[in-house]
């Protein structure tokens, strides 16, 4: 079913009444996610959808349908190579603190864990925010134990010897499972990036492709939180085609390499 924007607006308002706040999400993307949900649930009208919202189970399904899962190791290898060089330069005795907002499948956690393991570094910690309670519950299983991850090896092979892939992943039921020895290195909480301020300065904030999920109106708020969560001289990492367009925040970061979406907090 093709949803009109008029119908989308009605649905978004109703979701908000049910505690699910999508009004700052990128509209065409989340309209599409609703259309996919309509299709998968055999929902044929907006009224039917709105009636279904009386069920908390259904609201949960809508929330989970909104999570964009993207399982891809080392997406944008140039950025990851920059991070690898930075970690290497800081050395094994340095304590690395890393924040990943809007985490879904955990591929970025795995990418970081692999780099640290390759370097032989032990002093690192990642805090990841997931969007829904279900994803929080799923986190341990999905990230490390589900056997359901489908990983592209292409980017891994671009960064490392391909023979090392099986040091980190084992094939089970035609899906890859990640090594299990990093669980103590990662903590999770539920949070939305435009609301969540950890009041904690992380050395690396890896926020690639988060701005794409939100309307431009939300970007200032998101950048405020990302800025607050980044330590002075720490790095904020965005996606390849995301930019800091807000002039205030632009002035608060410097760019070590103009070809990479990496911003160093300078003020």
């Amino acid at each position: 079913m093709d949803l009109s924007y008029e119908s989308y607006d009605i649905i978004i308002k109703n979701l908000e009444h049910k505690g699910l706040d999508w009004h700052l999400k990128t509209e065409s993307v989340y309209k599409r996610r609703l259309e996919n949900l309509f299709k998968s649930k055999n929902i044929t009208s907006v009224d039917q959808f709105l009636k279904s919202l009386n069920s908390s189970h259904f609201i949960n399904e809508v929330a989970n349908a909104g999570v964009i899962e993207n399982t891809e190791l080392f997406r944008f290898p140039d950025t990851w190579n920059f991070l690898r060089s930075y970690f290497e330069a800081m050395g094994a005795s340095h304590n690395f603190s890393i924040y990943l907002p809007n985490c879904s499948t955990g591929e970025d956690i795995m990418s970081l864990a692999i780099i640290f393991d390759m370097l032989g570094f032990e002093n690192w910690h990642i805090h990841a925010d997931v969007e829904t309670e279900d994803y929080l519950k799923r986190a341990q299983k999905l990230f490390f134990d589900s056997g359901k991850l489908e990983l592209s090896t292409h980017n891994f092979n671009a960064m490392f010897d391909k023979n090392l892939f099986h040091r980190y992943f084992s094939l089970r039921d035609r899906n890859y499972c990640f090594m299990k020895n990093i669980e103590k290195k990662v903590t999770y909480s539920v949070g939305t990036v435009y609301r969540k301020n950890h009041n904690n300065a992380f050395e690396i904030v890896y926020a690639a492709n988060i701005l794409t999920k939100y309307k431009k109106e939300a970007h200032r708020n998101i950048l405020t939180n990302l800025y607050n969560n980044t330590a002075l001289q720490g790095y904020l990492i965005l996606g390849n085609l995301e930019t800091i367009s807000n002039s205030f925040y632009k002035s608060m970061f410097s760019t070590p390499d103009n070809n990479l979406p990496i911003y160093q907090k300078s003020k």
Partner: protein
């Protein structure tokens, strides 16, 4: 019959094989256009550069890959970047998304065509070129339903005709044209 004055944007889709067709069409277009041209072509996920550069090398038009939330500007040619879906928001900005693959592709032609249809409605010309899967068929249906004008490359002239045939099966396409006829149509509109 197309009302050329109604057209405010052109959207073109095709699979990787359509690059050759674009390399025939684009160099023949005027160097300054009055409309935006939005192109989504299936491309390798992990090869981030090269396609826009290759099209630019043969054309006097400037072809760019948009940033997320960039405003669409008349006279510019935009190419969907590798490994992102490219859509149009209702405020006339691009949105790039890392959502799941659609019919095995990211970027998806259906997403670009469908969101363009919603924004430009009857003021859109949609063109679907040669292609090896059904992506684009649903997008052409949306363009037609919104009152836009739809053109497919004549299947007889396609390297692989699955894509235009999917559009022909999905909706009442306005015209089936050869590459030369598509070029002439674009020249007359731009």
């Amino acid at each position: 019959m197309i009302n050329k004055n109604d057209i405010k944007a052109i959207v073109i889709g095709g699979s990787a094989g359509s690059l050759q067709v674009l390399n025939t069409i684009l160099p023949q277009l005027p160097s300054i256009t009055r409309l935006p041209i939005i192109i989504t072509v299936h491309r390798l996920k992990h090869v981030y550069s090269g396609m826009a550069e290759s099209l630019n090398a043969k054309s006097s038009l400037k072809i760019t890959e948009p940033n997320d939330k960039q405003i669409i500007t008349s006279g510019c040619i935009y190419l969907a970047p590798a490994n992102y879906h490219m859509g149009i928001e209702r405020n006339g900005t691009f949105s790039l998304s890392t959502e799941e693959l659609v019919l095995g592709s990211r970027p998806s032609i259906d997403i670009t065509l469908g969101t363009c249809a919603e924004y430009y409605k009857k003021n859109l010309l949609g063109i679907l070129l040669t292609g090896a899967n059904k992506d684009g068929g649903d997008g052409m249906r949306k363009i037609h339903n919104q009152g836009g004008y739809t053109v497919v490359q004549d299947p007889k002239t396609c390297m692989i005709d699955t894509m235009p045939r999917a559009a022909l099966a999905a909706t009442a396409v306005d015209e089936i044209l050869s590459i030369e006829e598509i070029t002439n149509l674009l020249k007359s509109i731009l």
